[in-house]
Amino acid sequence: MLSLLRRRLRLATVTSRWPDVPAPLIDRAQPVFDPARCDLNGACARVCPVGAIVVDTRFALDRARCISCSRCIEVCPTGALAQGLTFAVPERTRSDLVEPRAAVATKGEELASRARHVLGRSLQVRHLDAGSCNGCDWEINATTNAVHDIQRFGIDFVASPRHADVLLVTGTVTRNLEIAARRTYDAMSAPRLVVAVGACAASGSPYPTGYASGEGAASILPVDVFIPGCPPRPEAIIEGLLLAVGRIVRAR
């Protein structure tokens, strides 16, 4: 123990300065779309493994479904799709995650003021794996490491749904977890918020829906914030929680 303490004293502070400085750039982020270059040829929609892109009389990219595989970017002949380098930001509704975005944002302000009103500014979070690949769960774990240090935002993870303000859901809601997921939510006392983490919880897209895999958290719970990504970076998860509680500062 002493040797660990001694070692700690020698180590510099590692805590990330995000959101004051931007998160590191990554190049398996979701694509960016330039409508001026798009000629609606539909090549992207044909290669997308998860049906995140629909091209008919217009182009639509559903960021809740996108697993950032970059296949669409590779085949786009006009350069309308290009490699994004920053994580896709969380939103309050599924339709806010569809690109190009519809003009008016929805119930956002009202939720923000409600959340501020009922929850104050600090948050107790309960994680629920409803059938994931474990990737999102590991990223949630990473928010608690010394670098991302989610506690500096007044957010903490609790062991019981009874102590939680927010249910942080990963996974598609598999058949074998549906009952446990509903019970976990029911065990929380109101007011409570639900945040869906990753493509699985946001839409179920990574796995075809069927006898085993479901369509995400919103198919059984009232989701307040959707965090896109496969998996979302730790910063995106923190941002989604801040958005849920009405404390969001957009860092970009």
Binding site: M1, R28, N134, A180
Partner: protein, 503 residues
């Protein structure tokens, strides 16, 4: 080379037992298939590895009119979970199996429905059957309690249900009910294209994503006999070791969490985070998704990336050394690991343990040594083996392997620097019809096997993933006789993933 023996279903136990007895073979994977559409029955494939590394496949067809066969488990215990799966998913009964309970399907799944039968439509939901709630453990007696835990746990971890049977804090028996995160990946792969299945393979498990993607790619490459060039193979090997590094380092840190040593969790967590940011910097993804593909790799490691890996690996290695030394000096921590959660050598051997768990109990299994793949050559990796079989042994094996990986990465980078830029993907072309092949990779958790069979027109007819997390079958044996509060520690020392077992 794979040697194939077709036998009558009734001759399976005898043939498999003889292979184990006379040629010291070990069971690597077993798969059941529905080949009725191709004018056959249900296929059973038992793939064994010989000490030479060569594979032997014992194959049999089961008459659909009488879907049963004599269980191989009685003579080759390593088949126990595979044969239960065949019963659940295909409805083919292993006669005389010592444990005929359900494994993959939960109690509320209707009788007579089997997801991997071709006439089962995997795209629709299935209703729930009412079922009685039964105690899982067989422990009875004065003062005996059954403590249920999960499926939703108190930490940020995956779901699984445990029943601990015992007296006070002493656990006599542990029963695990798993497959909560069963997403039907194998069914979803049926009839899907090679590309779509790649993205499923990557998501069998987020923490071993690259290992799964490479094992799947190897299976496809073995089917088409089109293999990646040297540069792509070296890149695969480098990145696979980077995957091992962030897992192993994180697993050592997690062990500290199992013993509530917060300083250890914190310092190890920082190193894991640095390794994952290195992944993001050189491969674009903290979990190395979208990196490998059948035929090669989807991205290069240019000189700058190589230099970054070299520099960081030296820096992180020295940090890790300091961290481990400090842990080893922390007696209150190390004491808890000694003699805790012992996995017996013979049990590990017979039940088919793989990976760190096997090697910590004296069973020298490491695919990198026995069936070298990608850029690895025989002799480049020698398995790290310990014999104590306890939590401490599993920690020390990880530590030693971590140092070995740092060295191996630098050796591989040295080779990479000599290889001129080249096409990173060999076109694989269409799949041949009605054949099977497999790929094997030593993931951070152990041996991952992906087995792919094609149908009449070269579509994927059966995709079978046997991940290292089948080690779950061994955990209850290591827990019995220990104290309940030591379970998190034992569990974390195996560090198995639910997602890649459940699929």
């Amino acid at each position: 080379m794979i040697e194939t023996q077709n036998v009558a279903a009734d001759a399976l136990p005898e043939t498999c037992a003889a292979l184990v007895r006379d040629r010291h073979a070990r069971l690597v994977v077993m798969t059941g298939t529905d080949e009725r559409e191709r004018g056959r029955g249900y296929g059973l494939y038992y793939v064994f590895a010989l000490p030479s590394g060569d594979l032997v496949s014992i194959e049999a067809q089961v008459d659909p009119a009488r879907p049963e066969f004599p269980a191989v488990t009685r003579v080759v215990p390593a088949a126990h979970w595979y044969e239960r799966e065949v019963k659940d998913l295909l409805g083919v009964e292993p006669r005389g199996h010592p444990d005929p309970r359900r494994l993959v399907l939960h109690d509320d799944w209707p009788h007579g429905l089997h997801p991997l039968r071709k006439d089962f439509d995997g795209r629709r939901g299935v209703g729930r059957d009412p079922h009685p709630h039964e105690p899982l453990t067989g422990v009875r007696g004065d003062g005996v309690m059954e403590v249920p835990v999960g499926p939703i746990h108190a930490g940020i971890i995956e779901p699984g249900h445990f029943r601990f049977g015992g007296v006070g804090e002493l656990v006599f028996q542990l029963e695990a009910r798993l497959f909560y995160t069963h997403r039907g990946i194998e069914k979803a792969a049926e009839g899907a294209g090679v590309e779509r299945v790649l993205f499923l393979a990557e998501r069998v498990c987020g923490a071993c994503s690259l290992s799964n993607a490479v094992a799947y790619s190897q299976a496809i490459e073995n089917l088409t006999e089109r293999h990646p060039g040297l540069r792509a193979r070296i890149i695969r090997s480098v990145l696979l070791e980077l995957e091992r590094l962030y897992n192993h380092v994180g697993d050592v840190a997690n062990l500290c969490a199992g013993a509530a040593l917060q300083l250890g969790v914190y310092q190890g967590g920082v190193l894991k985070e640095r390794l994952q940011e290195l992944n993001a910097a050189v491969a674009g993804h903290r979990y190395l998704f979208s990196v490998a593909c059948p035929g090669g790799v989807r991205r290069d490691l240019d000189a700058a990336a190589q230099e970054r890996i070299r520099r960081e690996s030296v820096a992180i290695e020295s940090e890790f050394r300091g961290y481990v030394d400090a842990l080893l000096e922390t007696e209150s921590f190390m004491e808890r690991l000694v003699g805790t959660g012992v996995l017996d050598h013979d049990l590990a051997d017979e039940l088919g343990a793989v990976g760190v768990a096997a090697r910590s109990s004296g069973v020298a299994r490491d695919v990198r040594a026995s069936q070298p793949y990608a850029a690895l050559r025989p002799g480049m990796v020698s398995p790290v083996v310990r014999t104590e079989g306890d939590v401490r042994a599993r920690m020390l094996v990880r530590v030693e392997e971590t140092f070995a990986s740092f060295g191996l990465i630098r050796e591989l980078l040295h080779e990479l620097a000599e290889v001129p830029p080249a096409d990173l993907v060999t076109p694989i072309g269409p799949l041949p019809s009605d054949r099977w092949a497999m790929g094997m990779v030593e993931s951070p958790r152990g041996e991952n096997v992906h087995w792919v069979m094609t149908g009449a027109s070269g579509e994927i007819a059966r995709y079978r993933v046997r991940s290292a997390s089948y080690n779950w079958a061994l955990v209850p044996f290591a827990v019995a006789g220990n104290l309940l509060p030591d379970f998190p520690l034992i569990n974390k020392s195996f560090e198995l993933c639910y997602a890649c077992l459940d699929r």
